[in-house]
Subunit: 161 residues, 2 copies
DNA sequence: TATTGTTATACTCTATAACTATA
DNA sequence: TATAGTTATAGAGTATAACAATA
């Protein structure tokens, strides 16, 4: 993934003007949990994208594939609400996943408006490879924050989520 | 902020096809800390943006204003590296902040290439209002996840960050 | 040669609105 | 009237590349 220096090391080498060498202060940012959350979340997405690059899968696509796999036959509306993906965005994502022959849409007998979503055989196979890469990412994530902190965060956020 | 239903309630009402009413499974997503992190981070940004709407300030702008306030006179390069904002993006953000008379750029005597960044008087005044709204957001955040969890997350992530 | 700041392009994600076909 | 899906547009954020001025 793209190399990211820690706040401290970045600040240390951030010279180039009159105040060169003095570490930058976070200021009030230090009181905002959202700031730290955002930084970690960016790290995660960057590592995920880099790790999954061989399969050309983005985080949002990955989550859609997993939820279809776990809930075959459900509608776009159901998947979208579950993951908080706008239906407009999901429609275009599914076109792309259909183009790659990973997802199939079948018409739903009970309601002609809705499509039932399934993984194709090819999609299942691809998801196997994708899952192995995703596990590698998760391991790297745990190593990055420390296994203990990773577990603590998981417990805190999963119980909440 | 924009109303977001919980995973559970969204799943409950996600009907409309043959499997209507059955809650959707997270599948392997349940094993990814990044998924829960992302969901919480989205909540935070949406609440932040909604709370700060009266001042028309986005999270990235807010972080830049705070870091300039805490480190007056530093260069764009220093601020950008500190916050991991691309210099190209920061240049355009600063144009906008300059247009609103919140930030001033002065040339740096020691290095004619770099600009020293400062808040204007108007900028300080605006930041005062912004900070009060941001505190309201942070309180809402703590209420959302629970005060105890908010503190635990802050401790975990700040120590790490 | 490398760095600071700028402009430009392209892609992703988010947020809307408008449209169709069904219900 | 409301819902499922589609198409289109606009605004952010991210990632590059190329450039001028300066170091």
């Amino acid at each position: 993934m793209k190399r990211r220096r820690s706040i401290r090391s970045a600040a240390k080498s951030a010279g180039g003007n009159g105040a060169a060498g003095k570490a930058l202060a976070l200021g009030q940012l230090d009181r905002h949990l959202g700031y730290f959350l955002r930084r970690l979340q960016l790290w995660v997405f960057q590592d995920f994208i880099a790790t999954l690059r061989p399969m050309r899968v983005r985080p949002a696509q990955y989550s859609v594939l997993l939820v279809i796999a776990a809930n075959p036959g459900r509608s776009q509306a159901a998947i979208g609400q579950m993951l908080d993906v706008e239906r407009a965005r999901l429609a275009r994502m599914l076109h792309e996943l259909e183009r790659r022959r990973w997802v199939a849409r079948r018409s739903n007998g009970a309601d002609a408006r809705s499509h039932s979503l399934y993984l194709t055989g090819e999609g299942e196979k691809a998801l196997g490879k994708i899952t192995r890469l995703a596990e590698r990412h998760e391991a790297r994530f745990a190593a990055h924050v420390g296994g203990r902190r990773h577990a603590q965060l998981m417990a805190l956020l999963r119980e909440f989520g």
